[in-house]
Amino acid sequence: MSARDLFTFRNRHFRAAVGVTAAILIVTVIGGFIVLPFAQPWVQFANAWDAICSAAGLPQRTAIVAAPEQTGRLSEVVLTSSTLSRSSQEAIGRGATLAQRCAICHGPTGISRADSPNLAGQYSAVIYKELHDFRSGARTNAVMSPFAVNLTDQEIADLSNYYAYLPRLPAYHPTPQLPKPNIVIYGAPMRGIAPCGSCHGSLDNKIGSPWLEGQSEAYMKAQLQAFASGERRNDISQQMRNIARAMTPQEIEQAAAYYASQPADVVKAVD
């Protein structure tokens, strides 16, 4: 007995096995591609071919539902982990020169005394993204936007490299004075909030999430409220809006106060 005796319709086992398998396949194909698509009263198909294509998962442009009108610009920046991963001394030097324009608000060392955000040691991808967003109008601020509109791509990259190069404020949380808020340490699993540090840097950094330690309290509070209300909407895939919307007002206060804590000597040095 050999394969030749088996793979022939004269062999009854072959007949049965292939026949039954093919029959089941045909029945399921008819069920899945013709019967079931038409059994959905809420979908309209022009003809059977349309139904088959839809069931096969062929990407189609359906004109039935119009895409919702986009109001306002969204961020068009694409960030990958290789964005600005290499910086040169020249780029940092050019950035330093450009940054003189920014010093009145963001501080000569990148640490602000007013409530503008600190930029020193910020991840370069963050500066890069925020400047692009200010320039395109995806993020707007009456004070900041005018300084971004005329920046070239090269200038944005240089500024990002420069600020990322400056030493950042460390995490400073003396436990007795400041109890760690739950929202920061644990997040809120049932509301889909991961611990802040799993994106923002103390546990792990997800690209595009800013370093928050030592940041101005008023600024962070304002940003969280803006995310929650939808006033700020440049975060890709609503990463931060989804979180801020689910936070309570107290949690916003607590998180902002927690991250704003700075070592005493830093505060003095800036003054």
């Binding site: 007995m1 394969a3 005796d5 088996l6 793979f7 062999n11 086992h13 072959f14 096995a17 292939v18 398998t21 089941i24 396949l25 399921t28 194909v29 069920g31 899945g32 591609f33 079931l36 698509p37 088959i52 839809s54 069931a55 096969a56 998962g57 062929l58 990407p59 694409v78 960030l79 990958t80 982990s81 290789s82 991840y123 739950n182 340490i185 644990y186 997040g187 809120a188 699993p189 049932m190 991961a194 611990p195 799993s198 546990l203 792990d204 950094n205 997800k206 690209i207």
Partner: protein
């Protein structure tokens, strides 16, 4: 004693050693995310552990058991010298090398991607290369099983292939083909990104490739257990296999219907068309068939044993069974867990019901019950049965063995029943932390605590298992005689060629893979713009 006992023992010891480590990690995971553990503050550690636990329990441990058992079957069922022992050792060492290569990046936190790989998440390239080495090592075993059977056929033209070897080779072919999905995903998609040659990945296509592997790998895990049901249990309890033909049909059916159903793991995925989901779902319903045949045949075989021992009456024979025989106990526990797990599986396989438990703890509860419970308890039984033939020494303390099996069964019940329950309540899986102080989930605290306690019972049972095997290496010497398998009520004199060879079933398996996967894979692969940027583990 078996001639290749060193080879087989090496496989078993490595399997059970890594099992012990992964079991400890499992118990720790259970504890740390329960109300009785205190939160670590670093979810990354949890995912490191989860990646190690899943990779070992899913890829390394069952593969080694199937390989070791396969070599034992080839030698003892065919009653011929195992050909390719050097190659077998090469396969073993590949697995050792692959495991070490994979575990280092996991331990360093560079590959916390979980055993399902989770693209576009990308970890260190050595993790994936390690997994590939493990698979390549096991493919050597597949080739050796096929070659040894071929040599035997040459020497015994037309004779019926012994059932154990027929099933063993069926399992090896199933594994060879189902591993291709994950291999394609790793080699074509993930490894180029992990090695830095590309920065984008088609995550949807990768998930479809993985689903190709994900269902039939379950049946590969199951094969040693089913082989033990048919060819060890009846012999060990003094019975006979009720039907040799039924057994062969079951194993061939596994080849045909285990493969074209993997998309039941992608019910919630938008990149797969609903028509294909329906076909896979319908074929999934068929996969119950070989299991039902098996349950029927084994119950009948067990009844034969009972009646031979003087059992009477409609159900009275159940009392006549040798309940103090560890093999009997393992089989009964395995069937109970298979029954509950199978009932849960019916929910997973139906498109609509699945939506309510998708990605919840129900799923983890389910596969621990079936895999950790019904399947692994028979791995224990296989080890106990083979041990005297591998060591030349007797396993003396049957009481301890019975305690171990009882602990595993009770532990699995205590762990998985509440685990299912919290899944129904909506507790998501793969989360490192739950705030049980929150009124929304406070009612789940009790169930999760129970599960954690069950986890420690399982850990105790696992340790006991290792102790029993270790003591078995030092017991007084005794000759266990040749290793043999159960005989059927009607031993077949001839078997139709369709049921004595695998070719027809392998052809159907590949054919159905083409019809059920071909179009979705082609469209996803040819469609432009379906790739997304990779997300690198630990990248700044």
């Amino acid at each position: 004693m078996l001639a290749n006992r060193k080879l087989i023992l090496a496989h078993f010891w490595l399997a059970f050693a890594v099992f012990g480590v992964a079991l400890t990690l499992g118990a720790w995971q259970m504890f740390i995310r329960s109300p009785i553990g205190t939160w670590l503050s670093n979810p990354e550690l949890y995912y490191r552990s989860l990646t190690a636990h899943g990779t070992v329990m899913g890829y390394v441990f069952p593969t080694l058991v199937a390989m070791g058992f396969g070599y034992a079957i080839s030698e003892s069922a065919l009653k011929q010298r195992l050909v390719g022992v050097r190659w077998a050792w090469a396969g073993f060492w590949l697995i050792v090398a692959g495991s070490i290569m994979a575990i280092i990046p996991i331990a360093l936190g560079r590959a916390s991607v979980l055993y399902t790989f989770y693209p576009p998440l990308i970890g260190n390239v050595f993790y994936y290369l390690g997994v590939v080495l493990v698979v390549v090592g096991s493919w050597i075993w597949v080739a050796l099983m096929s070659i040894n059977l071929r040599l035997w056929r040459k020497a015994h033209p037309g004779a019926p292939v012994p059932l154990a070897m027929f099933a063993n080779v069926a399992g090896s072919y199933l594994w060879a083909w189902t591993a291709v999905g994950a291999a394609l995903e790793l080699l074509l998609q993930i490894i180029p990104v992990a090695a830095g040659l590309k920065t984008t990945i088609d995550a949807g296509l990768a998930r479809v490739f993985f689903s190709w592997t994900l269902h039939a790998i379950v049946y590969f895990w199951l094969m040693p257990t089913y082989i033990a049901y048919y060819t060890i249990v009846p012999r060990a309890i003094g019975g006979r296999v009720y039907s040799d033909t039924m057994a062969r049909i079951s194993f061939t059916l596994f080849l045909v219907v285990a493969m074209p159903i993997g998309m039941h793991h992608t019910f919630a995925d938008p990149q797969v068309g609903a028509g294909f989901k329906f076909i896979h779902s319908a074929f999934t319903a068929l996969v119950a068939l070989p299991t039902l045949l098996t349950v029927f045949t084994i119950c009948a075989s067990v009844e034969i044993a009972a009646r031979l021992r003087g059992g009477r009456g409609m159900f009275g024979w159940i009392r006549a069974l040798p309940w103090d025989n560890p093999m009997m106990l393992a089989l009964a526990f395995s069937f109970v867990m298979l029954g509950f797990g199978g009932a849960g599986g019916l929910i997973n396989m139906s498109y609509q019901l699945d939506a309510s438990i998708h990605n919840t703890q129900w799923i983890t509860g389910h596969f621990h019950l079936i895999f950790g419970g019904a399947i692994v308890i028979m791995y224990f039984a296989i080890a106990y049965d083979l041990w005297p033939h591998l060591t030349g020494r007797e396993l003396l303390d049957l009481r301890l063995i019975r305690i171990q099996l009882w602990l595993w069964f009770v532990g699995m019940m205590v762990t998985t029943f509440p685990w299912h329950w919290v899944g129904i309540l909506g507790m998501p899986r793969r989360m490192a932390y739950f705030d049980f102080g929150d009124p929304a989930i406070a009612p789940q605290a009790l169930s999760v605590t129970l599960s954690a306690i069950g986890g420690f019972i399982l850990l105790a049972s696992g340790i006991l298992f290792l102790v029993i095997l270790a003591r078995g290496m030092r017991a007084p010497q005794a000759d266990a005689g040749p290793y043999c398998f159960a005989v059927a009520v009607h031993e077949p004199a001839t078997v139709p060629v369709a049921l004595n060879t695998h070719a027809l079933w392998v052809a159907l398996m590949i054919g159905l893979t083409v019809t059920n996967y071909g179009y979705p894979i082609l469209t996803l692969a040819l469609n432009e713009g379906t790739s997304v940027p990779a997300v690198y583990v630990g990248a700044q």
